[in-house]
Amino acid sequence: MSKVESMRGAKILTPRRRDIEAAVAQRSMVTVAAKPGTQALPDIDVEKSLKEAFARGWSVIVWNDPVNLMDYVVYVFKAVLKMNEQDASRHMWEVHQKGKSVVALETRERSELIVHRLRGFGLNATMEQA
């Protein structure tokens, strides 16, 4: 039996992609401040949160194409967008029947990453400012 050892961990994060992914990871971090005997509350910078909420004006659109398999599209939505099977299937059917589906509404940076990942799986994804 042949084993593709060298393929393990072969995913290369180049500097540019590292920057993008690090920026996204940082944006999603929420610190928790806990004092003894009190309930821990999220330490959220309200102003920053508001800015981010308003910045979520970029929609990620997936377009229909004649080649991608329905099962494959569901699989990609689950893998990339962390959708459950029901939501992933719903969006897949929307793409199939209506020609497109808005699968995410995010900040510009986060949308760039999602589009990149969806296109990495061969889906015809674009982003558009809402």
């Binding site: 039996m1 393990r8 992609r17 398999l69 099962d71 029901q86 760039e112 061969g122 982003m127």
Partner: protein
């Protein structure tokens, strides 16, 4: 072709000799496509390898250029990464003594990449030959153009490989 889960995060693929031969031929073509300069590609393929960022349906706004460049750059890097994987698959096939069946063990991350590469090839064949939904739904025997018929067949076989890799996915209420 079969695909079985060995344990959490690991998979064993098994190919008959003809399937393995087909797969390696596909990998060889993919390798060439990953190396090809995007600038020299026909518009349909260039569009596939570059993302589109628009506002109100317009892509050429100055403030979107940076995002467009980031996306195009990331896509170029992805091709380089996948080329490495293609070369690894081909080297493994060359080195293996038992090819009927040819068995390969991969991780879940490698499975994702492998499925995405097979899908790359499906998309690229379709774009190169201008294969339409009509072609995809047509009886193979009714497609008169030989190249298109071969293209649809390749897309179908690769689709079968992908479905074997994924198992049932669609939620049906």
């Amino acid at each position: 072709m079969t695909c079985e889960q060995i344990d959490l995060g690991h998979w064993r693929l098994s190919f008959t000799e003809p399937e393995a031969g087909f797969l390696i031929a596909v990998m060889a073509r993919l390798g060439k496509q990953y190396q090809e300069d995007v600038v020299r590609m026909p518009p349909s393929l260039r569009a596939y390898w570059q993302g589109t960022i628009t506002r109100g349906g317009v892509a050429d706004k100055d403030d979107l250029k940076e995002s467009q460049e980031v996306l195009a750059e990331a896509r170029t890097e992805l091709r380089a990464e996948r080329l490495v994987l293609v070369e690894t698959w081909m080297r493994e096939f060359e080195l293996t003594e038992e090819r009927n069946p040819w068995k390969v063990e991969i991780s879940s991350a490698e499975r994702d990449e492998f499925v995405a590469m097979l899908n790359d090839r499906r998309m690229l064949v379709a774009l190169e030959l201008g294969i339409t939904e009509e072609d995809m739904e047509a009886d193979l025997g009714r497609i008169s153009n030989e190249a298109r018929r071969a293209g649809v067949l390749e897309i179908d076989v690769l689709g079968h490989f992908i479905l074997v890799m994924l198992g049932p996915q669609i939620y049906r209420p």
